[in-house]
């Protein structure tokens, strides 16, 4: 008996956005394994994944990129910092809120930067728009991460916030570097 099944091809534009989301998820995972110690704090490169996912892909595909990152970690790939994995690390881990915050942050950054689902060329985004988008993303990460950390560790909110305060200037520095990369024309045509 002959069987017929039509092939429903994915359109070229969606394939391009999808592969960028996949590779930015992999890049976020790769950057999570590197950090630069600065005195008592660690300079993590992970937020760049969120910044570039939001700026390059917009809210939908930027969110897909970070969701893929979380899902492969939950599935067991050692993609979280220090090569950890598992749903336990996300739900009950001290930094699980920051991981979820990266996902929401990418969506917020993309929504502010592109003001719609379809991403514009990154060169068309003005500096003030990029600053507002990435600052909002950082604010969202801390707004989710600090209360989450307080609940998981039983620390008072103020103490959890004080523990994370040294990282805020570093994240603002990362934000500036991300915008400098866009303004430097390194992502022209993307």
């Amino acid at each position: 008996m002959a069987t017929e099944q039509s092939v429903d091809l994915v359109d070229d534009e969606t394939v391009g956005l999808f592969t960028k989301a996949v590779l930015l998820a992999a890049l976020t995972a790769g950057l999570a394994q590197l950090s630069i110690p600065i005195g008592p704090v660690v300079f993590s490169l992970q937020p760049f994944g969120m910044f570039f996912a939001g700026l390059l892909l917009g809210p939908l595909w930027g969110g897909v990129a970070l969701l893929l990152y979380l899902l492969v970690g939950i599935a067991g790939a050692p993609v979280f910092s220090n090569g950890t994995a598992g749903i336990g690390y996300v739900i009950a881990g001290k930094t699980g809120g920051f991981l979820v915050g990266f996902l929401v942050g990418a969506v917020v950054a993309g929504a502010i930067a592109h003001r719609g689902i379809a991403p514009k060329p990154v060169a068309d985004l003005s500096v003030p728009v990029q600053v507002v988008a990435l600052t909002a993303a950082v604010a969202v990460v801390y707004a989710i991460g600090i209360p989450w950390m307080a609940v998981v560790t039983g620390l008072p909110f103020a103490r959890a916030a004080a523990l994370m305060a040294p990282y805020i200037p570093l994240d603002l520095l990362k934000l500036g570097i991300a915008i400098a990369i866009v303004q430097g024309g390194y992502l022209a045509g993307r």
Partner: protein, 236 residues
């Protein structure tokens, strides 16, 4: 590092969907009540899950040692006071109970990781989320797992190249910018090549999925998962 190990234990034979739901329900139940009896109960439950996967609790603790070491600091931070008596026991104990809740969740998570291949979780996600979103996430997961080692190698190569050129002496801002730019360029080049490869292979919305079998033994696990997830609603 914890990763999948082939085997034929009870945990290996369960469907990934029931195991995922069980983990989710267990995590909700474990964090619902920061009390000592509840902690003892959830830890005993988690040890049963480890036994079902024939996994040593010590091996799990070793794998999560960095996470646990960081968590262990929380009670000390909570107990430190800015004036006499300098350290208060009550907040430290409260924090220790909160942190203790995490251990059983990590144990159950470890049982899942070692008994479930990533491709099964991918298939479970693709089947649990209907339509195109499920397709995108399922295929995306498979590709991220495949490409992560390559992208990580790229990033490390860029970092080593910067070091080899005396980059450590440069200001932090310059080092980070160089690392981010070069890593991103390589990543986006890979994305372009992957895009062409997928289109050349007729990337479609309706590919063939790996088979999953939701068996009779999965129903009790599913039921326990749901019961655990709603357990915080029941007063103890």
């Amino acid at each position: 590092m914890l990763s999948y190990r082939p085997g034929s234990t009870v945990a290996h034979r369960l469907d990934p969907r029931s195991k995922l739901l069980f983990q989710f329900g267990f995590a909700i139940a474990a964090v619902a009540h920061p009390t000592l009896p509840w902690l003892v109960g959830t830890t005993a439950f988690a040890l049963c899950a480890l036994a079902a996967a024939r996994l040593s609790p010590l091996a799990v603790l070793r794998s999560y040692r960095i996470v646990l070491a960081v968590l262990a600091l929380a009670p000390f931070v909570a107990g430190v006071a800015p004036g006499p008596p300098w350290f208060r026991v009550d907040p430290a104990l409260r924090s220790a109970l909160h942190v203790g809740r995490i251990l059983p969740v990590l144990l159950v998570s470890a049982a899942y990781l070692t008994s479930t291949p990533v491709r099964d979780t991918r298939a479970a996600v693709q089947r649990l989320i209907p339509g195109k979103p499920g397709q995108i996430l399922g295929i995306g997961m498979a590709l991220v797992v495949r490409l992560f080692p390559l992208v990580l190698a790229d990033v490390r190569e860029v970092r080593d190249a910067i070091h080899a050129r005396g980059g450590e002496a440069r200001p932090l801002r310059d080092r980070v910018r160089l690392l981010a730019v070069r890593s991103l360029e390589r990543t986006l080049d890979r994305s372009d090549r992957l895009s062409v490869a997928l289109r050349a292979r007729c990337f479609a919305w309706n590919p063939t999925l790996p088979p999953l079998a939701f068996d009779r033994r999965d129903y009790p696990v599913l039921a326990v998962g749901i019961a655990l997830a709603v357990s915080p609603l029941v007063s103890v």
